[in-house]
Amino acid sequence: MRELLDDLERWKEAGHEIALARVVDVEGSGPRAPGATMAVNGAGEVLGSVSGGCVEGAVITEALEILRTGERRMVSFGYSDDEAIEVGLTCGGTVHLFLEPLDW
């Protein structure tokens, strides 16, 4: 999150609603370690990443949903999931993300 700090503050000052998605756990091979962070604002703009580009598209959809509902939850992407055929890590691992609004 450190590398996103300046941009996040800029977004906050501009009055954007912001959702954070952070990698909290990785099973097997995953491109980004726990702590990797992606931020999405209400206008659909994106900062950072949580994988090598494999799941970011799906994370934007989930993040916009979080902004709408104010929910906080875990989302997992991986080879073992049913949705792996559509969205997953090509490296075969599973990544667990925590999504929340940046309202703290």
């Binding site: 909290v24 091979s29 929340e100 703290w104």
Partner: protein, 271 residues
């Protein structure tokens, strides 16, 4: 309330103070979090926010300090009052340790390239040279600090000053002066620290001569084993930028304990 924890996090990060955020990611209050900072008494960290129970806050704060010391993010399970062998809730502890440090001794062309890549690598870079004409801010705008002094004196100061943290496993020292007058006392001083990587530039013949002088100056067999000299991986690097990549690649491999062959020639997991 809104924005308070984030603002405090931003303040701590800008001041390069160690800080951790522990967030409940699964359990009764997902998103609940505490921000944990170190204080003058390490046993009593400063805690802002709450995970919903004071005992839980205390246990998670203590574990966050442990994670900060290791420089490692972790996921942990607890009971609702912080019991360690229960799984009522899952907490993600994210640490923001101050950046690792690289000290570069010798203000030469290779120094600028090494410092430039070092900033990209997230290191705090100090350039130190006793020669005032070389160690200038103008020549090394990318460094966090440029110091005119003898390298061994700078090291003594870092290790002895209670205000600065002693060098540790994540930190690195690169000796680029290739002048035994500076190199030898710098390397001897580096051996007395716990720094994770020590490299020294110079050809194989320079290194042979330097090694003799280091032994005369009291370096042990174990000390010499810590010295990466000639510095860097065997990439065939020539330009300052190429050499800088080979040095950084060696530092990464030293930290991960790898031998640095080509990935395609090896088997097993990538990380």
């Amino acid at each position: 309330m809104a924005g308070q924890l984030f603002n405090r996090l931003a303040t701590e990060l800008r001041a390069s103070r160690p800080v951790a955020i522990a967030t409940e990611v699964d359990g009764p209050h997902p998103g609940a979090k505490i921000l944990v900072g170190t204080s003058a008494t390490p046993a009593e960290p400063t805690v802002q926010g709450s995970l919903g129970n004071p005992d839980l806050d205390r246990v998670v704060a203590r574990d966050s300090i442990g994670c900060l010391e290791l420089g490692q993010n972790e996921i942990r399970h607890y009971g609702s009052r912080g019991e360690v062998n229960q799984q009522d809730l899952t907490v993600f502890i994210e640490v923001f340790a101050p950046p690792p440090r690289m000290l570069i001794f010798g203000a030469v062309d290779f120094t600028a390239a090494l410092a430039r890549i070092g900033s990209i690598m997230g290191y705090s870079i100090t350039v130190c040279d006793a020669r005032e004409a070389f160690a200038t801010r103008e020549r090394f705008p990318m460094a966090d600090q440029v110091i005119v002094d003898w390298p061994h004196r700078l090291l003594e100061q870092i290790e002895q000053d209670p205000q600065t943290k002693s060098l540790g496993n994540r930190d690195a020292i690169c000796i680029l002066t290739h002048d035994p007058k500076f190199d030898v006392p710098a390397a001897i001083a580096a051996f007395s620290t716990e720094v994770g990587y020590i490299g020294a530039m110079g050809s194989r013949s320079t290194q042979q001569k330097r090694q003799r002088k280091l032994i005369e100056a009291g370096a042990t067999h174990e000390d010499l084993g810590r010295l990466h000299a000639p510095i860097g991986l065997d990439l065939g690097a020539r330009t300052p930028e190429e050499v800088a990549v080979s040095i950084w690649a060696e530092i990464i491999a030293t930290h991960t304990g790898r031998n640095a062959p080509n990935l395609r020639d090896a088997s097993g997991p990538l990380h």
